[in-house]
Symmetry: C2
Subunit: 422 residues, 2 copies
């Protein structure tokens, strides 16, 4: 009981400081923010040895705790990873500053000039797992968009995150920016996170990044708005008129380029009129890359040797070299399948037909809908947002990849000349 | 225990139907939606007698339960109120349809054309109190923006809301629109609302409208994103260079035109250099309208006869003919006061100074910030959104009044020619 109370006081104090810092941060000039970002990039590279030393302690503890080799890999800081973090901060420094932009302005019949001005959201809490580079990436995006950030990384990366955070905060101190605008959450207990999720007066937004279990925990306990995506069960529909070469190339890219990420294809839908022509071709290409195929009964008529897909396969985000395949009567059935089993993440159609391309774009309401391009493009950098703090399938506020603009909101501004309401 | 389970099944079934309906609703043509809205307006007026008859039963029950006369007034349906509801629907029919608008489109270096297309949010749950006209207003806005809606009004207006809902649903049936796109929640128990707030897979957004207690209840129990505002502690700062006549007129309008609403002024801040000139003048005007004044010690030096404001007064949303007044050293102290005691709702500055006008607009991050105009303008109609479903101080998604556009989100659409990710 005593411990619980301690968390509450401590976490609240931290969040209050973040809120106070956010008021100053919102007013910083673009130049001040950019110089700090470039300085942070330099200092991360300059402190490479210290970061790697702290990271080794995390790695040793992880090996002792028998973490999977995949997890250990994600945890590891190497000179190229640190260089990548620094380059990420440099890129953010070069992106336009969204704060203060007036996105629209109009005149009312009574002469009032009304506009919408971009402002920071305020204080953002980011709860993530494993990769310590998220610490620098997220801190950079939040600083540029004028938001204070509280970063709670995975307990397995605790010392690495603390070390990265210290480098970043030292730059803030040197440059006269409130150091509380970047805070590394010092607790690993879930109880402490739960306390943080109650602080709706201090924290404006929570972004959880990680496995579905973590995201469900955060959603269930948060009084603060949460932007998230649970999973990406992404589909490609190969239409009757698809160019077979393009369709094969895109399916291969969407499935095997990085099977472990959320915008990889998990289910392939094929128009019945091209099934016998397309399936053997794409199966050959995929199997050459080691992909296991699971098909519906009609798929198995063409690819008799593959495993039969079960009902639960259509809901699965394999995140692995496995693909489920279904033959459909046409675009209608494909769209219905996506509505029923999809996760609103990313879907693509491969077609040469104008009407079907437009129909698919209009009727499929996932966060990103593509014609004749790989699902792997649903990514902040690839779509041209310049950077990405995560992908949202929450629909509210931001739907799809979130860049700097999505870390702001707009307030109404009104220029009057003494008008009163009638 | 049995009852609890019953709610769960029933409420979930309702929400599922709303979700299914929303898929069809998202694809309706603008013409179909507009015709339905005009038809609804007509049928509300045509069924006036039935609505008033059902409303009388609610009123009788309310009087028996000794509801306050203010509450009874808000509950009452009269021919002018019903006409107002019909006119509201007609106005919504004439607003532009936000669904399908492509708000931006750009080209990537690899040739991909990337855009953002407006789509409905999906299923919206609205939880409100008292006024039955909200039933028609909210249903109209949701239909036009392509969203299914579940409406849960106050238990004191139960029969009135059911009757209005029936008129609206009959129009949907006649026009071949899924009737489940407008549903009136049939339960008055809080337990049933709590079940509704768990359905994050079926419902995309909850908008609570009402007292702070209701809104806190909803926020505390919802797994679904909530857009809300708790209260409006709105400020006007009268600067040194303010035109005294304009300042008086605006303060009077902001305080007394409708003291019971969220965008009415609650605290007046006055620059010390004009305190002795402005305070007697504005006090006279306000007291003539019956406003009780409560001042800081410096205010009391000028207006010695008024009550002294206590610390808690600065946090208060009086919603009544009471005003707290503070003399500040200047714009800096005024902005600090607003940051400390404000509710991020609406703040105005009265000034003739260019620099201070711009400084106030930039540094005060409330949902609406005005120069030389009344706080009462923070309203969807007045700011030109055409309509309003509520005001948000949540910062996420929509900050300020929410119109049709704020009931949509955008998806990314991508036109490709076979591009794959490198």
């Amino acid at each position: 009981m005593k411990k619980k109370r301690d968390f509450r006081t401590e976490v609240k104090k931290m969040a209050r400081k973040a809120k106070e810092a956010s008021l100053q941060l919102a007013q910083l000039s673009t130049l001040t923010k950019n110089k700090a970002l470039l300085h942070m990039a330099e200092d991360l590279e300059r402190n490479q040895e210290r970061l790697i030393k702290e990271n080794r302690k995390d790695l040793a503890a992880g090996e002792k705790a028998r973490l999977s080799s995949a997890l250990i890999d994600r945890l590891r800081l190497t000179p190229p990873v640190i260089h990548g973090m620094a380059e990420g901060l440099r890129e953010v420094a070069h992106l336009p500053d969204p704060v203060g932009e007036v996105v629209k302005m109009w005149k009312r019949p009574n002469g009032l000039m009304v506009g919408r001005m971009r402002i920071p959201i305020g204080v953002i809490g980011i709860i993530y797992e494993s990769r310590p580079n998220v610490t620098a990436d997220a801190a950079g995006l939040c600083l540029k968009s004028g938001n204070s950030v509280i970063l709670r990384g995975g307990s397995e990366a605790f010392l690495s995150n603390q070390a990265i955070g210290q480098v970043l905060r030292n730059v803030l101190i040197k440059r006269g920016i409130p150091q509380e605008s970047i805070q590394i959450f010092p607790h690993t207990e879930r109880e402490a996170i739960r306390e943080m999720l109650q602080l709706e007066d201090e924290i404006d937004l929570i972004i959880p990044r990680g496995g579905e279990e973590l995201i469900r925990f955060v959603t269930n306990h948060s009084k603060i708005p949460v932007i998230k995506h649970y999973k990406g069960v992404c589909h490609i529909f190969v239409d009757e008129t698809a160019d077979m070469e393009i369709a094969t190339r895109i399916c291969l890219n969407a499935k095997v380029q990085r099977p472990e990420v959320c915008n990889a294809m998990e289910t392939l839908l094929v128009h019945e009129k091209v099934a016998s022509r397309f399936l053997p071709r794409v199966a050959r290409a995929l199997q050459k890359e080691g992909v296991e195929l699971r098909g519906c009964p009609r798929t198995k008529k063409v690819l008799s040797y593959i495993k039969e897909a079960q009902e639960e396969d259509w809901f699965r985000e394999y995140l692995d070299l496995i693909l489920s395949i279904k033959v459909t009567k046409g675009i209608e059935e494909a769209i219905e399948h996506i509505a029923k089993y999809g996760s609103l993440h990313t879907e693509a159609i491969i077609t040469s037909d104008y009407t079907n391309a437009q129909k698919f774009l209009r009727e499929v309401n996932s966060s990103c809908v593509l014609v004749n391009a790989s699902t792997r493009f649903n990514d902040g950098f690839e779509l041209g947002l310049g950077a990405e703090i995560g992908i949202s399938t929450s629909k509210l506020h931001a739907f799809g990849p979130m860049g700097l603009e999505e870390l702001t909101t707009t307030k109404f501004i009104v220029y009057g000349e003494g008008q009163v309401r009638k």
